[in-house]
Symmetry: C2
Subunit: 381 residues, 2 copies
């Protein structure tokens, strides 16, 4: 049975990326690797729309969040953290684990953050070192309005830090133009590579903060990474995840071949189609239409339906792999990922399977999910 | 031109590992991944000869060293660190970066540590929390006598911590029997997978230290990792490097098919053959015969030879990739890696190329490297 991996990352690997993934090992000190890494970081600057340095760490995205905290902060510092889902809360938890005071902007899970709430938090803690926001909150399918939040943050000395792990390459993101000082993403989401590399864009303003930040760091040191990368951006201080970098290089070529604006538009279109499809089945999408992330759609599990039964049947009988709800959302929502390399056909297969399985597990016997989605895909295709 | 990757990691990938590397992505929450991870950790216990937990982190080996420090230590603690090469010194530097006092046992680079020097250090700092030793010191090709050092350390409360990044799977290593409390290795050396996963074996005694250690940690938290792995050892707290874990699973199958003792014997034989070959060319091996690592052979660059010219010519004209000397050894030594999946043929090709290139770059015009090596390979084959 064909598998449709429709989770919000790791995402399916296109053939070009698979081929890159399965190549013979090379030395991380070779000219071949140097060229691969330099081209990868240069492409990432174009995808993130930044002229700043991009630092590649062998780690998951969470490692990238931790690296950001320990490079920007000193013990006793305060940060403002937008907590509207599992990943926003995780960023706040990391800061607290390192002795940072966190002024949490609590947002009901499933809603986008109000930029005015961020303003009030900065008024309470005007010396905040940074404001931490998950751009696309993968746990609830919400896209926070990063441009609006960043424009509020710029009135204070705080650095604007964006977790763009599930947004970069899928959702409109203009790092420099919006005034985002640090942007964190990872290889395994819209960039279509396997997991294992976190990527951190660092603005000149953020480098000033790094210079005075006193939290201890070694593996995560931005300065050590920048020094080793050098002007040629060829080498890393510690052995890089070579096969993942190679896959990322291939993924980024495909991102650039598609075009950034076209890619954002495709993800918008796909996301709208998925929302229309699940609504046709009588299901409710978690965020409001205008706050929905283009990377993943979170859907309330209908009353009387066991989410595990739903997900298991989708997987075993239709080859459709969706994700459950993380943390406090477990059992309450399911998530349909549509970021990276997700052709229309996979989206439609996912919706068809949902339509078939829902009534079998006690859910609504809605009809027409595929047609509703196909209409949108055709209109804007 | 066929490439012979003969550096001390990352190592060449066997076909089975390449095939595993290039497979389509799966969910890190799937039963398929759960089985892969559980089998991988179980196999690692057999390879490391330990019954303790094995914790897999998405990071390089250096990340594993940092994780060990922040999980075992509290601010103001003291550790003893054997510093006889770049990796021993790095472990000490990491501890210092986190505010740990380091009693350095300085060993001339290229020599093995004297267990009695470790004893003297423990007499000076009897409250040391841990003793840090690189088992195979990749920078100088030295194997430290871990069994002897561990037996000294056991007279003190200090934990025995071994960096086994380039030894595990190549060099005799009996974690539990020797009393090694924490052992760190990585995917890209003798385990024959791409880089991107650090693996840390933690004894029950070490868990007691973790409970009271107060250095801040989040990504590296041993306790968070153990809790998420659970009894089934199926899942990690943060997205694992799935393709690398899959490759590691394939690599470990090959390690076990060969057999651990046979594998150690093969590495001993290959290492002896390489040493005989380079000596036939009039070159000097860095460590004494009895201290030479089975994973990598470090060789002094002969007078009048530019090491960069030597390595470049080997690579461009013969497809043979050797490594230079790291840090203070730069230009003084070169390193011939022979760990993991390095067939006799590759070793002989490396030696033939050395014999051809050396006189071209002003080195000795020795003869018979291949014959000297082949004799040993045949004797013990």
């Amino acid at each position: 049975m064909r598998q449709y991996l429709l989770i919000p990352g790791p995402t399916p690997l296109p053939d070009e990326v698979l081929a890159a993934s399965g190549q013979q090992m090379i030395s991380h000190r070779s000219t071949e690797f140097a060229r691969l890494l330099a081209e990868t970081l240069e492409a990432l600057r174009r995808v993130l729309l930044t002229r700043g340095a991009i630092l590649p760490f062998a780690s998951s995205g969470t490692g990238g969040l931790e690296a950001t905290i320990v490079n920007l902060c000193s013990p006793g510092d305060t940060v403002v953290a937008v907590c509207g889902g599992a990943f926003g809360a995780r960023f706040a938890d990391i800061a607290e684990a390192f002795g940072i005071k966190v002024n949490r902007v609590e947002v009901p899970w499933g809603q986008a953050a109000d930029p005015e709430a961020v303003r009030r938090a900065l008024q309470e803690t005007p010396d905040a070192r940074a404001v931490l926001v998950a751009h696309s909150e993968t746990s609830t399918g919400v896209r926070n309005d990063l441009a609006a939040i960043a424009s509020v943050v710029r009135e204070w000395p705080a650095l604007m830090v964006a977790d763009a792990v599930s947004s970069a390459g899928a959702v409109e993101l203009r790092t420099d133009e919006w005034g985002v000082d640090v942007v964190i993403t990872a290889s395994q989401k819209a960039l279509m590579a396997p997991p294992g590399v976190a990527l951190i864009g660092v603005s000149e303003r953020a480098w000033e903060a790094v210079k005075v930040a006193r939290l201890p760091r070694f593996y995560w040191s931005f300065e050590r990474m920048r020094a080793e990368l050098g002007d040629v951006e060829a080498f890393t201080p510690f052995t890089p995840a070579i096969s993942v970098v190679r896959a990322l290089h291939a993924g980024l070529r495909m991102v650039e071949a598609e075009g950034l604006e076209a890619r954002w538009a495709r993800h918008r279109r796909t996301a709208r189609a998925v929302r229309a499809g699940v609504r046709a089945l009588g299901l409710r999408v978690v965020p409001r239409e205008e706050d929905a992330s283009e990377a993943v759609t979170a859907v309330w599990v209908p009353d009387g339906v066991d989410s595990t039964a739903l997900l298991t049947r989708l997987r075993t009988e239709h080859g459709v792999v969706l994700a459950g709800g993380p943390g406090r959302m477990h059992g309450k929502i399911f998530r349909f990922g549509h970021l990276g390399w997700v052709p229309d056909e996979a989206v439609l297969a996912g919706l068809r399977a949902l339509e078939a399985v829902l009534p079998e597990v006690g859910g609504p016997a809605g009809r027409g999910a595929e047609a509703a989605a196909a209409e949108i895909l055709a209109m804007e295709g």
